[in-house]
Amino acid sequence: MSNNQRIKVLVSVIGLDGHFTGAEIVSRYLMDAGMEVVYLGIYQTPEMIVSAAIQENVDVIGISSHAANYEQINLLMELMKKNNFSVPVMCGGSIPPQDAEALIKKGVSKIFLPHSTSESIVDYIVSIVKK
């Protein structure tokens, strides 16, 4: 990757979840790793996230989930498919194993569980964007 290029990541909290701290901290880590983070904040519908991701031409989408609203993430995956827009989607948060499995089946590329290290998140993004 040349000097002029930066990995661009969209970070958002989805649906009616109000917990922004996790998303903000991850955004900060990604910035410290030299990435550009388009941060959307809370109360974002899947429709709003897809539209922003397209306009911003991001390389990766990161969704923070602390409210068990996996239905919203499923809808996000369906919308992306419908719009023929494919960038990796990763999710982080307190997501039980069976729900994590279901999300992976829906096309989510990676789930980061609570207490994932910042390094593991950064390394993962670098590895998928380089592919």
Partner: protein
């Protein structure tokens, strides 16, 4: 290839435009050719610059402006610029948070940009992105920047109307904005004017503008100072009215002044463009050379000092006549 991209953009295709903006930002080779072809489709949009210190509520103001412009049936492109971290080179682009309610509106295109800050490339990318929005047929293009650096002032200069936003009670706040910004401001907004010290700020401000503004080449335009509470949608209508008035004043200038202004802007833009290319190309040329790498090794192992290395590289790599400055 170039033609089909241009055609798509002129037809307002969001995907193609978004991708092109990404390429502009990443300086992808070949982008220049598309911009050249796109240029003839530009010149129709009205460009508004919004500048002010962090925390002045610029994004909320922009969000409300977009709302009102949409109610008037106008299409809008928003370019929100945030600073790059000098330490990591990364950035958090958070302006969109305040504008996300427009994300499903097809008449609005919001794009975030980091300053990146290499060789003053910001002004270059910003102008190119404005061209893309313009070619897409947006009626208004709003460019939001933090008014602290020379780059931001230069961007402000190329807007048709430049709005400076401040908040009361922060003397340092005004200080933080580069003094030069007062010269380019066409409209001043005191946001969060519900604060108790708003009137004091108004007075300080008037004095400040009087001192900084020496001349009036703007057809007698006296920059108004407006009070606003963007979060409560107060003062937005007034701001848009002032922008419209300013637009009309600009139009009514004498033909000589118009040409004079256009020339000044063209000169600024052209010099910028050349500056970036020159620095970038010359530096690339030097840093990719074998001599450069040898010099680095010598500095590291202590056999050469950086001052001599610099002299040697420049005298070896620059054409004669450019070596002495």
């Amino acid at each position: 290839m170039v033609d089909s991209i241009v055609e798509k953009i002129v037809n307002g295709d969001v995907r193609t435009a978004a991708k092109l903006i990404g390429d502009i930002d990443n300086r992808v080779p070949g982008t220049r050719e598309i911009l050249k072809a796109l240029y003839k489709h530009t010149g129709n949009a009205y460009i508004i610059g919004i500048t002010g210190a962090p925390g002045a509520g610029k994004s909320t103001l922009v969000d409300e402006m977009v709302r009102d412009l949409r109610l008037q049936g106008k299409t809008v492109g928003v370019l929100a610029v945030d600073p790059t971290s000098p330490l990591s080179g990364g950035a958090i682009l958070g302006d969109r948070v305040r504008m996300q309610r427009h994300s499903l509106d097809e008449g609005v295109f919001i794009r975030s940009l980091a300053t990146r800050g290499q060789f003053g490339g910001l002004t270059q990318s910003t102008r190119s992105v404005i061209d893309v929005f313009d070619a897409m047929g947006k009626d208004y293009i709003i460019v939001e920047t933090v008014g602290v650096g020379q780059d931001e002032i230069d961007i402000a200069k190329s807007a048709h109307t430049t709005v400076i936003v401040v908040v009361p009670g922060m003397g340092d706040h005004i200080q933080a904005i580069k003094a030069g910004i007062f010269e380019v401001g066409d409209i001043f907004v005191i946001n969060k004017s519900d604060r108790s010290d708003a009137n004091k700020t108004l007075h300080d401000f008037k004095a400040m503008i009087d001192i900084t503004r020496k001349r009036s080449t703007n057809g007698g335009w006296e920059p108004p100072i407006l009070m606003a509470e963007a979060v409560n949608n107060k003062g937005i209508v007034e701001l848009l009215i002032e922008i419209e008035k300013h637009r009309k004043t600009r139009k009514a200038l004498s033909p000589e002044s118009i040409i004079h202004n256009k020339k000044a802007i063209a000169q600024l833009e052209l010099i910028d463009m050349m500056k970036i290319r020159l620095v970038e190309e010359v530096l690339n040329h030097i840093t990719n050379s074998l001599e450069f790498k040898e010099c680095l090794d010598c500095i590291v192992d202590g056999t050469k000092d950086p001052y001599s290395a610099c002299d040697e590289l420049l005298s070896a790599k620059l054409p004669d006549g450019l070596q002495q400055s």
